[in-house]
């Protein structure tokens, strides 16, 4: 059966893309459409939006799960994961709802899992063509990479990249409890704990004025690290 799957490749593996979204009504329709048009199923987790995010996502053809109140990025992804695990999808992709990820790159993240080389693939901005960004932000990411390395023992070339792909087997064992952005650190911690095989693939992040306005400041990024440690203390 495994060999059969390998011969058939990506087409035989059911892939779904989970998009957490909070007040993304302006962008979510195009983001969902761009992913669906490439042949993937999409589930959008509307995390307590006060705008028409859920309606726009439904209009674009996504399954929509709605949090009645905002619970955070990690909580939204975990809701998506829980829903996907009730279905028969083989590969699960996490994708941002603000349009900064490139849907053409989904197949690059999925392929190593289809070929059973790894269980999890994390997108990296720093493999291949390094992208320009402010020095302070670059330094903070480097610090976050060291932070992740110390806590999980996994040395990545990027940190807090929200573009990831998991095999079903991986997602079944990963158990994240942190609701906020610190999910990004916790998921790496879980990958290490369950000794899952991890790989990185180059991804391009499109920094638009819109995505920058939705992004977090440098101080908030530092607080995310502290939040992660606190979450571990009271695990």
């Amino acid at each position: 059966m495994d060999l059969f799957m390998k011969v058939l490749g990506e087409d035989s593996m059911k892939t779904i893309v989970i998009i957490p979204a909070h007040n993304e009504a302006r962008k979510i329709y195009n983001v969902v459409q761009s992913v669906i048009s490439r042949g993937y199923d999409v589930v959008v987790v509307d995390d307590g939006s006060s705008d028409a995010t859920a309606d726009e996502a439904r209009r674009a053809g996504a399954v929509v799960l709605q949090h009645y109140i905002n619970r955070g990025y990690g909580a939204a992804l975990e809701t998506g994961n829980a829903w996907v695990l009730q279905s028969d999808y083989d590969i699960i992709v996490h994708f941002d709802g603000d349009g900064q990820h490139n849907p053409d790159e989904i197949k690059n993240l999925v392929n190593p899992i289809v070929r059973e080389k790894v269980d999890v693939v994390i997108g990296s901005r720093f493999i291949g063509n390094a992208q320009s960004m402010p020095i302070l932000r670059h330094a903070l990411i480097k610090l976050a990479i060291i932070f992740t390395w110390i806590f999980s023992g996994i040395k990545l070339s990027d940190a807090h990249n929200g573009f990831r792909a998991f095999s079903r087997r991986a997602l079944e064992v990963i158990e994240c409890r942190q609701d906020s952005m610190s999910y990004a650190s916790e998921v790496i911690d879980q990958i290490a704990e369950h000794r899952l095989r991890i790989g990185e693939m180059p991804v391009t992040i499109e920094y638009t004025d819109y995505s920058k306005s939705k992004g977090e400041g440098n101080i908030k990024k530092i607080l995310v690290g502290m939040r992660f440690i606190w979450g571990k203390v009271i695990k």
Binding site: V45, H67, A82, R177, W230
Partner: protein, 111 residues
Amino acid sequence: MLIQIITIIVVLFLLTRIGSKLKRKEITLKEAFFWGALWFAVGIVVLYPQLADKAASYIGLQTATGIDLVVYIAVGLAFYLIFRLFIHIERIERNITKIIRHIALKDEHDK
């Protein structure tokens, strides 16, 4: 002294509040005992400050006076309570998320 009178009035007021909260079952007997003992100890130290001095020298605080010991204990206790509160809030937050997730999945399932 005036400070002793004011403090004793406050302590007595707080002890009656603990009693009424226990009566209305808003706190458990264990909680009432803890807070009652704490405020009772505050009242004793205010009435007999020399007791705190003796306690300070007994545990080896050579240069410190009794009131320093009281402040040390108060700060330590405050930090401990803040820590407990944070843990409690975190658990409530996680439970809220579980409920919200359950509703989200159920809503989609029931469609």
